[in-house]
């Protein structure tokens, strides 16, 4: 039983991380119908920026984290500004290719600047407190870091939900997602809203990047691996649906860990894909999307 509970906890941690990245994909897709390939790289830069602030600028940890989040939000906005906005009215494929190009550029930029070897700086920088383990009811043992990740992910998801449903900018985002033309007719500056969407998504991605950096390592390919899985999570929940992305992230995280623990270690990533395909073929809108697959 303890084993099972520990696996569930592992799954929740992974799920929290996936959820944070997945909302980035899904929000952008919701407003401009673009699969932002570069989002995984922003997640990766979140970790690297934090490392940079720590190692080179010698910031205290909390400042490095904050700086990284701001930098990534900025990065998201800038990428939209220079790469995606000029292609707003171009064929969909062009924007997709551009996203892929940006992803290539960012990944290799990171590799060139910081090298391909995994770095443990963030992991080493976390205080000893976070590495300590705690036993939760049920007998499972996990580190404070993992516990914080789960709690933080939940808080951020709730916060995001509040933002989307209660604030003006949230309403504007929902309007743009529904119908950009109508939204702009209603006086909403769609470009600003899209920029805000990128900023929020990127900021959350940065948080996830820092978490993964602390928990595991920082390397240039982390954006690709985690990003692809998070994308699968977004699809699972229903691409374009934010709550869906959160749910998808958690489901995928747990499925992956349970699959690795009980079925086979080699397939832990394949589980994402299998779920994704099954969902699309039998319920294309995902777990929480509309029942019919409309022409996207």
């Amino acid at each position: 039983m303890t084993l099972f509970l520990e696996q569930i906890v592992n799954g929740l941690v992974l799920g929290g991380i996936y959820a944070l990245i997945a909302v980035g994909y899904t929000m952008v897709y919701g407003v401009i119908q673009l699969i932002n390939f570069a989002h995984g790289e922003i997640f990766m830069f979140g970790a690297y920026f934090a490392f940079l602030c720590l190692a080179v600028l010698k910031f205290p940890l909390w400042l490095a984290v904050l700086a990284s989040i701001l930098l990534c939000a900025l990065m998201g906005v800038v990428i939209d500004l220079i790469a995606y906005r000029p292609l707003r009215n171009a064929p969909r494929l062009s924007a997709l290719i551009t996203a892929i190009g940006i992803s290539l550029i960012l990944q290799n930029l990171a590799r060139m600047i910081w090298g391909a070897e995994p770095r443990r700086d963030l992991a080493n920088a976390k205080s000893a407190f976070l590495s300590q383990t705690v036993i939760i009811p049920g007998g499972a043992q996990l580190s404070y870091l993992d516990l914080s990740i789960i709690i933080l992910a939940i808080l951020l998801m709730v916060g995001l939900n509040r933002l989307i449903s209660l604030t003006r900018i949230g309403k504007a985002m929902r309007a743009c997602a529904q119908d950009k033309m109508a939204a702009s007719l209603m006086g909403i500056d769609t470009n600003r809203v899209i920029g805000a969407t990128f900023a929020i998504g990127s900021a959350l991605g940065a948080v996830a990047g820092i978490m993964v950096g602390m928990r595991e390592t920082i390397e240039p390919t982390m954006g690709y691996y985690k990003g692809v899985a998070a994308f699968a999570a977004a699809v699972l929940g229903g691409i374009g649906n934010i709550t869906g992305a959160m749910l998808g992230g958690v489901v995928l995280g747990i499925a992956e860990v349970l699959g690795a623990g009980y079925i086979s270690s080699g397939y832990r990533v394949a589980i994402s894909y299998i779920l994704m395909i099954l969902v699309i073929v039998f319920r294309p809108a995902g777990l929480l999307g509309r029942a019919s697959a409309k022409r996207a």
């Binding site: 064929p91 190009g101 590799r111 691409i239 697959a293 996207a296």
Partner: protein, 322 residues
Amino acid sequence: MISMSSILSSRSGLILFFLCLVPLATAYLDQGDYLLRICSTAYLYMLLALGLNVVTGFTGLLDLGYVGFYLIGGYTAGLLMARLGWSYWAALPVAAIHGGLWGLLRGAPTLRLTGDYFAIVTFGFSELLFRIVKNEEWLIGGPNGFVNDIPAPTLFGYELWQYWQQYYHILILLILTLLVVYRLHNSRIGRAWQAISQDEEAAQTMGINLHEYKSLAFAISAAIGAIGGAFFAQFQVNISAGVFEFWESILILCMIVLGGIGTLKGALIGAAILGSLGEVLRISLSWMRLPADSRYLIFGAILVMMMRFRPAGILRSTQKSP
């Protein structure tokens, strides 16, 4: 039929003639083999680009998992030749048919899906194949999908492994594929595909059976990919899961977009450029004492630039892109 004289007198015929002479020219260089290898790789990519073009270019459906068929072809041929001792001449058509079948299978549940959903399924499909090959040792006989010692085709007792022989080998495959695709493009089938890519509902109203034509496109595209994979397996002597990563699909997609979606010429030129660019950049970069890794960055930059300033590709197409 296309008349021989019209081919030879056209510009393309002239290009073809010179391409056939390349091995003679490189025979005197110490690195001639290396040059032939680059050319062969470029031709392989041109073949693959033609295959992807059938689904994404002609029929207008974004295929993000083309590498899956490349994988199927490579492993079918590789396993048949390396483990069961089959001859390449038997393995190649089997690989093509196998690929085509999977094209149909993958297509079947997606016939009603549109746009992005189809793309996502293709992506998941190819990644799944990649994972299976990587993990199922009993199937592949080695970890990480590693199949080694794939022999080259033999003709009259000679193994055609030399680089100049491989060069003609892939050139012939490329020309045959080009002929097939060209004929399809300019036929009733090709026009049906074009109609589907522009507006599925209108096409249906005009009496085009969507499922039939889509399935045909899937099968042919997949078969071509599989042929490419089979060639690659014996060209590289071994294959492993790492060859068939997602980025390969994207690379081929970028080739046809670069050249101009929907056009044969565009696909060929895009593939020729990007297919050889990797090596050319690597050489030029080491010449300039820059790290070889930067070539991927330049790659990405080129893509972004292209899409920003010439989104419809180098050559413009009369077709609307998806």
